[in-house]
């Protein structure tokens, strides 16, 4: 379906990434946000707080991130599309409810404008060091979806994608920005509402007595249909392991069935969840795998290497989780090496290494607080291509 024009600020704008993310959420139909102030993410909800009364919806500033990350889920079960926004320390507090959203299959979006860590770290400076936390931060085995924009325009575009995927798969989606992308100001084009595709909620239309909240339809989809509170279904939702009725089921079989399906509904949709930008990868000797702000610095390194005659390709991940294993595997058949610059000490590079099946993988680490020097990336490319 098409976006509701109410939230779509059609036009050409000059926006920073935080504000563009907010506009993306509004365009996607988010009508509820809960948040707690934290640098460098607060501008997202500041804008939402100013905009939403004029669009129709609610923002509430909660007492902490624990509260924000569950208030949005209450709102979702009440009928809203909802999200919360934070940065590292707040993201740590939200882990509990990422798990709850996974287990209860509550569609919602968690925006993390990454800053340097651990702990309070570098509140005003960039990092990409929460990438593994986005994947594994809550306890238990599970799959989520994570996206990484590299510009204010993508903060707009991919926020819509984040909401759409969360509705399609009924899974929490991590929107992994970073301080640079959040605070850089660039041209952002917001199209007319009728050009914005919106994924509707997987609402059930079954009769009340035939509805089981965690039963798959039989149409092959592993994503059950959803009811909202107050519609007469009288359904139960729990973070305990549950059966198709939503009732607690404390057995090995129930655990295997539920946790297996929660994994499969994402991992088996790998093709649908492949979102990358590829540039000269087909005949590359070296493929630079990059994401977020680092991809823009890496571009300079790649261009310099090409100018020197090296066959360098670029693979930019827009969806980082689930990880594009198959694509890396395919590229590894031709490429001699992968180079992975990132604002952490080696997180996604390990994934590349795992998927590359023995092909040389060179991490270009950076502890955060700034971005890479393009010449360091160039150097890594040169070394890798030897």
């Amino acid at each position: 379906m098409k976006a509701d024009p109410a939230g779509v600020l059609t036009g050409v704008h000059f926006l920073d990434g935080d504000h563009a993310c907010c506009e993306g959420a509004l365009a996607a139909g988010a009508c509820f946000a809960a948040g707690y102030p934290i640098t460098p993410s607060t501008e997202v909800v500041e804008r939402f707080a100013a905009r939403i009364p004029k669009v129709g919806g609610t923002f509430i500033q909660m007492e902490d991130e624990l509260a924000s990350s569950i208030a949005i889920q209450g709102a979702v079960w009440g009928g809203a599309k909802a999200f919360t926004v934070t940065s590292g320390p707040g993201f740590s507090l939200m882990m509990e409810h990422i798990g709850y959203a996974v287990m209860t299959e509550t569609p919602c979006v968690f925006v993390n404008v990454q800053r340097g860590g651990p702990s309070t770290g570098l509140p005003t400076l960039p990092a990409q060091s929460d990438m593994m936390q986005a994947r594994w931060g809550s306890h238990g085995d599970y799959e989520v979806i994570a996206l990484c924009p590299n510009s204010p325009q993508e903060c707009f575009d991919l926020t819509i994608t984040a909401f759409n995927l969360s509705e399609k798969y009924r899974v929490p989606v991590m929107f992994m920005m970073d301080e640079c992308v959040g605070h850089m100001t660039e041209k952002v084009i917001i199209p007319p509402a009728e050009q914005i595709e919106i994924e509707p909620r997987r609402k059930t239309h079954k009769p009340h007595d035939a509805y089981k909240p965690y039963e798959c339809n039989g149409d092959g989809s592993l994503v059950p249909e959803m009811a909202h509170a107050g519609e007469g279904y009288k359904f139960h939702v729990t973070g305990l392991t549950h059966d198709e009725r939503g009732y607690p089921a404390m057995t090995v079989a129930a655990q295997q069935k539920l946790v297996g399906r929660l994994r499969d509904k994402i991992s088996k949709a790998a093709d649908d969840l492949l979102l990358v930008e590829q540039d000269n990868t087909a005949d590359a000797d070296v493929v630079v795998v990059t994401y977020g702000i680092t991809s823009r610095v890496a571009q300079r390194g790649i261009d310099s290497a090409r100018a020197k005659g090296l066959k360098v390709g670029k693979l930019r991940l827009k969806i980082v989780w689930p990880f594009p294993d198959q694509l890396i595997k395919k590229l590894s058949q031709r490429a001699k090496a992968f180079v992975v610059p990132e604002l952490n000490l080696g997180q996604i590079s390990r994934e590349v290494e795992r998927a590359a099946g023995g092909v040389k993988t060179v991490c270009v680490p950076h502890a955060g607080g700034g971005v890479h020097r393009p010449e360091d990336i160039l150097k890594a490319i040169q070394e890798a291509s030897r």
């Binding site: 509820f32 009364p53 009440g78």
Partner: protein
């Protein structure tokens, strides 16, 4: 319209239409007071002729947290301590719902304490039923913020020495508009208070002192569920309107019960809507249910 057949001919018990009978037996121990509170709750639903399609129960974690799973209503068993913020989002997204938070003392006042005071301060329209058994039941009898001084628990085997929370005082100070306390001996009064809370707009808090024979009573040599009833009967004193600062509990002393607070002030949503009308005039798009497409 409610689908519950209040006059259910096959039902042997008036509570039955409200329960997910396929989930019985429940997990609660013999003599536990939580079931009694559920009885009172269903009585309040019957007497208030509540629209059961629009009534939602939100629980946290713990023995009381299991209430949501047994009630045939839209029900959410959330995470430990977070029933109130979940309920806050739910209520704000759909103001037509009557949202009941049904949780234990540890859940609401320890891990969820921050949410409790802020929801009371904001005057979110929630009906909070706090079953206070003075201990952590589900995990095996550890000290709770409500455990009275000198009680023995598994984590204070030589007796507690921290002062316990006076919950009515806490929520009164934070701004709740309705605060009552009863014990599981006072079944009619509990049901009546619940009905009053259903009607009241704003943050209502009903504390129900409830026996945990398995862990609190036994370890403190206070007998079984019946002995608890005797104690509640003998020690309770109705003190409607009592200053909440004076209703703290001790291990074996008087239990002040009654309706302590009943006042009116605009709830969060009313204040929000008013503010936006004032500040934004015609630009404000007032919403009811936030139903997404």
């Amino acid at each position: 319209m409610s689908e519950v057949d209040f006059e259910c001919a096959e039902c042997t018990n008036p509570v039955e239409p409200f329960l997910r009978s396929e989930r019985m037996p429940h997990i609660w121990c013999p003599g536990c007071g939580i079931g009694t509170t559920v009885n009172c709750f269903t009585r309040a639903l019957i007497d208030s002729k509540a629209n059961l399609e629009k009534l939602v129960v939100v629980s946290g974690i713990g023995c009381t947290g299991r209430v949501a799973g047994y009630l045939k209503l839209d029900s959410f068993h959330t995470t430990h301590g977070r029933a109130i913020p979940f309920a806050t989002g739910l209520k704000l997204a759909n103001p037509k719902l009557t949202v009941v938070v049904y949780a234990g003392d540890g859940d609401l006042s320890a891990i969820g304490g921050n949410h409790l005071i802020h929801a009371a301060r904001r005057n979110i329209d929630l009906k909070v039923i706090c079953v206070n058994n003075l201990i952590y039941g589900m995990t095996g009898g550890q000290t709770a913020p409500t455990t009275p001084e000198h009680a023995t628990t598994s984590t204070n085997p030589y007796g507690t020495f921290e002062p316990g929370f006076n919950l009515p005082h806490l929520v009164d100070a934070a701004g709740a508009v309705y605060v009552a306390r009863w014990t599981t001996f006072h079944v009619r009064q509990v049901a009546r208070s619940m009905q009053e809370a259903f009607k009241k707009k704003g943050f209502s808090f009903i504390e129900i002192i409830s026996p945990c024979p398995t862990l609190y009573q036994r370890r403190n040599k206070m007998g079984d569920g019946l002995d608890a009833m005797k104690y509640y009967k003998q020690a309770s004193k109705v003190k409607n309107g009592a200053p909440t600062g004076e209703v703290g509990l001790t291990k074996t002393g008087e239990i002040a019960v009654g309706k302590f607070v009943d006042r009116d002030r605009p709830d969060y949503r009313e204040l929000m809507v008013h503010r936006f009308h004032e500040s934004l005039g015609d630009e404000y798009v007032e919403t009811g249910e936030l139903v997404c497409s």
